[in-house]
Subunit: 393 residues, 2 copies
């Protein structure tokens, strides 16, 4: 048996293990100091009441002869798809129910969607970036071109007439930079994709952090995007589902390439290699979209936004350049005094006992930048910003 | 963008849609007759009490600051892996915790495992077969050789010296035939795999139906199998998890091909393209492996076994040849009077209002055979067998 040799080309990331090692050493040398972690990319607020209640009712149902559910539709139950359909209608996008695919999260679908594309495509990926875009394509031996995101383009790379490629990843609000495309910018990408017969893989996992109505929360707010884009979304950050696992992917009927409907191809992929999200979890997800659920999750989102505001204010006060923080849980800052990402990491840890994430860990263009996140507690974020304020004086 | 053209080679299966159409027509013409469905491949008994209780406690935990869990390990929590480790120890197999990967079900893993193999492998697949083995390899353009399973080999194809291939699928107890390999037979496959540098993908989803201690419930009961086999298992049929979604895949550290550890490759695949099974579901799965959970799930398994016994007895009485029914929820019978699979389907529906599954739907070698399942209620199975008894007199 011959293995997939492409796995030998994958880079191992030592980013988070190196961070852990450095933090452990610091704690050992400074046992009395309170370390505050603002590097975390995971939510910390518990599931909201409506969700817990729905999960428990569905569990009870599954224990009765009448309520028990076996295999469900691989693409998800209509009761949840109808809620998502309505959620998109509020953003002025009409979707057919069979254009919505319920999944166990954006990470799975962003990787698995590549099954329906030929190896013989060129992939465009912004740098810095969520590492799985690069890794999943390396596993399948596709040619990858990195698009430079930098201070000059506000970490929002744009197309130009010379740019050629078949598959382009866009993540807005961005992980790790927190930068958000406006409608004109996304329209430029849609126009480019249509002209080049390319497909946009649009990662909208952080859409719920946008609170400016003029900024697009879905690529489908752009005309003709249904002809050239697949959208991936998740309840992970919206409703604290990182450990509960539910997301959705939108594949329009208008996506036709080589005379094949991508909607039909994705349906075939999912019915062949996936058996759907647990019924109980889909009931929990449904509760997120009720009026009460929306009220409750918004309290959590606002809690994180409050943290983002605190961090942004401190950086502004000291004239530190940054993106994000406004429509995103992430704050991406230029390291002061031209420090490298790791130099600033060490400086922040040693002088203020604050842990963040070195930007260079997300790609070459991340060097000299640094990511802070708003997923900590209000108390800790406040204390960390007081220390940072002191340090930068 | 170029699509994966291999999708054009996939056969559409009209098996279950044709069955549904025929049954609907029959009901329309015979509104007073009670149709009994023995074609169903899904469980019908509700989740057991221990599981429901664990699901609800975990849901409560997720609603508290202290109990909330975000991203878990992609390969599953130790609390569940430890239970599975113990389950294997009872079958005299020692597994390291990191050889156990928790998944959302055998179907996902059986498809996704192909990511770590080269396209340039020949795949051996018994016929008749669970259709996803063929489809998932067709999607990746691998050469497929079908191994004939038939009445002569008791639907248990065996290797011979001329047989060449790189990847072989074995499913025991088998879906759809219910046939079970004994230790000598599995040893012959392990020896063949080691000699040919091949890998066995062992689908053990129905292992819990085996109640003869001399029959292997895991391929790892065969010496050296850890060097040449990956085992896929699921709680779907064991504990009624078809709609709750949890399984596990065993990839030993002894699996080394082209100097690469398949365990490390699968870990890399899962950490890159999967985010783990919901915490709540893993707690539900953990409860299956407690003494009380085991007691409760065995009641359900015995309930189905009682149905299988009823069906077997009726077939024996009328000298109808069949496999399965003893260590399997499936009964695979030779259609009487040399009827084709669909002829017998129509005969059984029209004369006795019983629905089964035509064997020809599972592959060429299934022609002339028929699948009945034990997943109905006791009452309905009893009534169906009375009707069958009458019909075959």
């Amino acid at each position: 048996m011959k293995i997939n040799e492409n796995y030998k080309k994958l880079n191992e990331s030592y980013l988070f293990s190196t961070i852990a090692k450095k933090v452990n050493e610091f704690i050992k040398l400074n046992p009395s100091k309170k370390v505050i972690r603002l590097g975390i990319g995971d939510v910390t607020r518990p599931l909201c009441k409506s969700v817990v209640s729905a999960l428990k009712s569905a569990s009870d149902e599954m224990g009765t002869m009448e309520g028990f559910r076996g295999y469900g539709p691989e693409q998800g139950y209509d009761f949840l798809k109808e809620k998502i359909q309505k959620y998109y209608l509020e953003k002025n996008t009409h979707l057919e129910l069979d254009e919505i695919f319920i999944s166990d999260g954006a990470k799975s679908d962003l990787g698995n969607i590549l099954d329906i594309f030929s190896k013989d495509n060129t992939v465009l990926i912004p740098d810095p970036v969520y590492p799985v875009y690069v890794d999943t394509n390396t596993m399948q031996d596709r040619k990858i071109i990195l698009l430079e995101a930098n201070k000059e383009n506000d970490f929002l790379p744009m197309p130009n007439d010379n740019l050629k490629g078949d598959i382009i990843y866009l993540c807005s609000p961005n992980n790790p930079t927190g930068a958000v495309y406006n409608k004109e910018q996304l329209k430029a990408w849609v126009d480019w994709a249509l002209k080049n017969n390319a497909i946009i893989l649009f990662d909208a996992a952080y859409e719920c952090f946008i609170d400016d109505e003029s900024l697009p929360r879905s690529i489908f707010e752009i005309e003709n995007a249904k002809k050239c884009a697949i959208e991936f979304c998740s309840l992970s950050k919206t409703a604290g589902f990182t450990g509960t696992r539910c997301g959705y992917t939108i594949v329009s009927h208008e996506l036709i390439f080589n005379d094949m409907s991508l909607n039909k191809m994705w349906l075939r992929r999912q019915t062949t290699k996936f058996n759907g999200v647990p019924y109980i979890i889909q009931r929990g997800a449904e509760a997120v979209f009720t009026p009460q659920g929306q009220k409750e999750i918004k309290e959590n989102i606002n809690y994180y936004k409050e943290n983002a505001k605190l961090i942004s204010q401190t950086l502004k006060k000291h004239n530190i350049w940054f993106t994000g923080g406004k429509h995103s849980p992430y704050i991406w800052l230029k390291c002061p005094n031209n420090m490298t990402s790791w130099e600033f990491f060490d400086y922040l840890l040693e002088k203020a006992a604050i842990v963040g994430t070195p930007g260079s860990g997300f790609g070459k263009c991340g060097e000299g930048f640094f990511r802070l996140t708003s997923f900590g507690t209000n108390e800790n974020t406040k204390e960390a910003m007081q220390r940072l304020d002191e340090l930068l004086k």
